[in-house]
Amino acid sequence: MKIVVAVKQVPERDAPVRVASDGRGVDAGDAWTMNEPDAYALEEALQLKERLGEGEVVVLSAGPERAESTLREALAKGADRALHIVTPEDGTGSLTERDTLGVAQMLADAVRGESPDLVLTGLQSDDLGAGQTGVVLAELLGLPHVTLVLSVEASAGAKQIRVKRELEDGWFQQIELRLPALLTIQSGGNRLRYATLMGIKRARSKETKQVEAAAATARHDEIVRVAIPERTRQTEILSGAADQIAAKLAERLKVEVGI
């Protein structure tokens, strides 16, 4: 089974975030990592290949040169090869100049060249959080899709798979669909692996193919303004020495909880 996993490089979770100088973007610094939901998609692909005992896992990302480190990480974890759609960091043709449809179009062009049985991606990104790229990609590729998938049942050579989808309020559902198909993976269905030293070493000999991004088409949605959210409550802020904060918290809790 040939599986393409689409991953995104995003700012590290704890990295300080500032509004870009033009007021319409993010200045995220220089600490980058693999989007965590995509890491769950990669894990599902690797486990699927291991269970089936055959197949290939191709990791795909669109982004500037720096995104290569995220592809390297995926190769170190066990992906077989990588495809990098290289975009400029800023300005014309960069990711921010493209809407969800535009980004998915770049990914779709690359996936078409691979003709995989399965395309996996995370259910959303930790930075923009639109939660749409996978579904849009499926539609562009003409593939059936299921979102919020926790596990995949497949057998070698099968033309059909069965997946477990998370519904709301603690409910689940099994869904059957034919291959090729696209799934967006929900976190928690598997446990993420770490790259081993051996894996990192092996990754050095694995192929990363760079392809130039197609020209960007005009966005259908314009970013008007980006700002730090305003507080909605009157907040009492406690800072300083930990023991002083703790004393004030304990007093407040005694009153609120009634102990």
Binding site: V17, L101, A130, Q132, V136, L167, G188, D221, L238
Partner: protein
Amino acid sequence: MSVLVVMEQAAAGGWHRISREALAAGKRLAAEMKLPLAAAVLGSPDAIATQAAQLAGEGVAIVWSVGHPLLERYTADGFVAALQQLIAEAKPAFVVFPHTYQVRDYAPALATRMGDVLVSDVIAMNVSDGAATFTRQWMGGKLNAQYRHVGSGPCLVSVQAGSFKADAADAAGAAGEVKQFAPEIDAAQIRTKPGEPFREAARTVDLGSAQVIVSVGRGIGEQDNLKIVEELAKALGAELAASRPICDAGWLPMERQVGSSGQTVAPKVYVAVGISGAIQHLVGMKGARTVIAINKDPDAPIFEVADVAAVGDLFEIVPAVTRALKGSA
């Protein structure tokens, strides 16, 4: 031209909670854009008649009753086909969806089929000079980004839970018209075969009725560190809860998760320890009367909804609070 709200039914009958919030958002948008309000209900023809009539009786000018036997059980293919045809017929200026798991599954594909995009997970909207902008969150709630739709087609938006206050059903509203719409759907178009929804095990923890909750997030670092939070919960007589990543890692059972994919809680006191406050978590605990948050990051979005914001190291603060509480017992 209209503002069309696509309503979603709850699995147990009635409306999905966010549907009524989406309807309220649509109603406000319609008023501010000076457009008529329309709504759509999808399902098998028999199942939706009552709900369509109900909407027409509470101030929705046009209710599209989109009936087809193949819409009885949700599939993305069925819903995309039906709504694409409805939109071609109704020609709305705006289509408003509730941001549910179901909408996340089909609305992006619908937008793509129309050659357009969906502005998803909207928490606020603003109309000025006849133009609408929609706010959604970036970076787990650290930033708000305002979007404006610039395509020639209808503007598609989905609204996040808890962002728009649902109106009480307005039975006194002018009576609207129910229009039957029968989309053409072929069984061969439906490429997924959904099974019956099921639960894994009965929920043994009812966080919804808890008066005091101590909830833990990523900031706790590792499983062994949970002890300090458990001790605080014990000292307060509180239920222990968590944000999704803690349950994903298997450190606490899934049933202790608070948020859009877990339980919705409304305790008197909610203590958030090492929780950054992504929207998916906030929608589950917004109903708390008092929110006390402990986080080392002064920009953590949890502080935006906190009554008390303790900025500092939870590994020092939490044990010290527990000691102080015990000392007073």
